[in-house]
Symmetry: C2
Subunit: 352 residues, 2 copies
């Protein structure tokens, strides 16, 4: 198969971790007889530095022409600490999501038995956790009207949702639940928000099309609690953009394997795969960052974007093998030998 | 001193736990020579049942005439499961907050050494946690314009904040920080929301008036993570209504002592004290609910509303004594003898 992949390394540790994923993908292509055509493009702070724009048109064209996008991370402290910065790397993210129509962010949280004791939660609380949060990514208060009034003394933001936007995300949620535990939890704040009431009523109307799926409706505040108390009670969750932002991040720390968690963003025009961790500027260029989340994001890409399940499985297997063999970066090495980012990537590629 | 207290038992276990707090307050009054004048009034489902309105005008008058309000809990499943219910008990809460001008919800999270192992978090993560979240309670998306368009197919909610609303809350936060660890964290989503940018700029402008306070600005998604990872790194947090709703609930489960956590809501007209737990309808009328959160809310009331610090200390002491002596309800008893709600209340009152 011919695979056209846009490669967006981004900022900080992005380029380093993406490099390892490329090695692994190339090894997979060789083994399974595929041909990967990588096209690199700039995003984030590195794009601002190059052309003043965090998601340049050129990058957009590269993404539109590709079958899938592999993304590193963006963000740079030199823009965070400058209140006068007119363009911020994160704006590139939002623009990219909107222009590529990346409406569904898929965020799995699962545990690696060998890493479970890294969790801030007690073992018995986290064991068996395997949940996926589907976060709506192109609507809600992120993209609504906002501004100031009264000489700048009043600020407002608007959260808007249409029935179609909700249906599109909920459909993915129902379908995903059918392939898994058949439980779907719709997270909202329907006791206060009108947009949440539209979410709830839209999902309720879809229930009859998926009679095998057990649907629950929970308030976002209750979910924020239960995620810490009983994360393993969830299967698939669907929620709007801002709630999803908060809950996916909360969920990401409970497994103790944040450095390993992949994600996908499914879109109208293409889909994008990225590690959930940030650009960790402190670690950039040191060859110490953990590349596994990006490698596992590439596995998601093979499975979801190309329908290549065996290839995805082969990647997951070699990752598990590296964990078992202790071929890991310093964040996971404990008192054992820590390997460099590039060493882990080489080992994975050789052991495919 | 003469203390006029409005007593709002509410629904579910509300009346039972409030009864115990009354016993304790009366014992305190006797010991310290105060005269408490209690005035009971209806709220929530019990008020809807009685007069069709979850926060009746009569109740509002009682609250306005009082020096402080002691509140139980509201909520009843018979209204939750009825999609056609026009009035819901929770609407009473929002109306009460608005009409009493309860603009600041004060939610401490701390640990009881003897209960620390009930936490879903590992001991070393939670030990030493002592944080307070100040949640803005009468603004934001809870009270903004909302509605439907396009034949009901589009729904919107508006989040609005004024500089004054933010200043009022932030002032409390700075002052509170001054009496504690002198650290203030402003939680927002200033990388996306205009209202958050107004929060940030308003708090930044206030920093110079509190030179001893170290202020940090963190995004709500990052805080949702760090609350689980390092809760003991926080001192005082200030945030807007919806973020506060989510984060206070998340924080409430980390201590392992949710059944003991008190809260206060400071208002323009009066202030209100209530346990953070809900109305637990399943336990209602069984004399098994833990009354300690309500008793500790009464301690907050003595200290904050009446400036009676010794009285507050005396309540906290007797609560610690009851925990040490194992005079506790079934949720805390483990394999030891469980006491009834009323037995715990009697023991506390007798040991004041
Ligand atoms: C950087 C920021 C705008 C972004 C978001 O809030 O969506 C980030 O937190 C994320 O979750 O990808
Ligand atoms: C019942 C609901 C409206 C309320 C809120 O969201 O404020 C509750 O969750 C709370 O935190 O007191």
């Amino acid at each position: 198969m011919k695979l056209n992949i846009a490669l967006l390394p981004g900022d900080g540790i992005g380029p380093e971790v993406v490099d390892q994923a490329v090695k692994v993908c190339d090894a997979i292509a060789k083994k399974f007889n595929h041909e990967i055509n990588w096209t690199k493009a700039l995003t984030g702070a590195s794009a601002i530095d190059a052309c003043g724009e965090p998601y340049p048109d050129e990058t957009h064209e590269v993404c539109m022409a590709a079958d899938a996008v592999l993304f590193g991370a963006i963000g740079d402290p030199k823009y965070d600490n400058d209140p006068k910065a007119k363009v911020r790397p994160e704006q590139g993210l939002l623009k990219m999501r909107q222009k590529l129509g990346l409406f569904a962010n898929v965020r799995p949280t699962f545990t690696f038995p060998s890493l479970i004791d890294n969790s801030p939660l007690k073992r018995e609380r986290i064991e068996g956790t395997d949940l996926i949060i589907l976060r709506e990514l192109t609507g809600g208060i992120y993209f609504g009207e906002r501004g100031r009034k009264d000489d700048g003394n009043t600020a407002f933001d608007t959260c808007t949702y249409t029935r179609e936007e909700i249906q599109r995300l909920a459909k993915l949620g129902f379908e995903l639940a059918m392939t898994r535990g058949k439980k779907l939890c719709c997270v909202d704040k329907a006791n206060v928000l009108e947009s949440s009431r539209l979410w709830r009523e839209t999902v309720q109307a879809m229930e009859k099309d998926y009679p095998e799926v057990t649907v629950s409706y929970e308030f976002v505040d209750a979910v924020a609690m239960r995620l810490v108390q009983w994360p393993n009670s969830y299967d698939v969750m669907i929620t709007e953009n801002l709630f999803g932002d908060i809950l996916t991040d909360e969920a990401s720390v409970i497994s103790g394997s944040m450095g390993l968690m992949p994600s996908a963003s499914k879109g109208v025009h293409t889909s994008l795969y990225e590690p959930i961790h940030g650009s960790y500027p402190q670690a950039a260029g040191k060859d110490i960052a953990n590349p596994l989340a990006t490698v596992l994001s590439a596995a998601m890409m093979f499975e979801d974007a190309f329908g290549l399940k065996d290839e995805a499985e082969a990647i997951r297997e070699v990752v598990n093998k590296s964990l078992a063999a202790g071929i890991v970066t310093e964040d996971l090495a404990g008192t054992n030998k820590a390997y460099k980012t590039s060493e882990v990537g080489n080992w994975l590629a050789e052991n495919i």
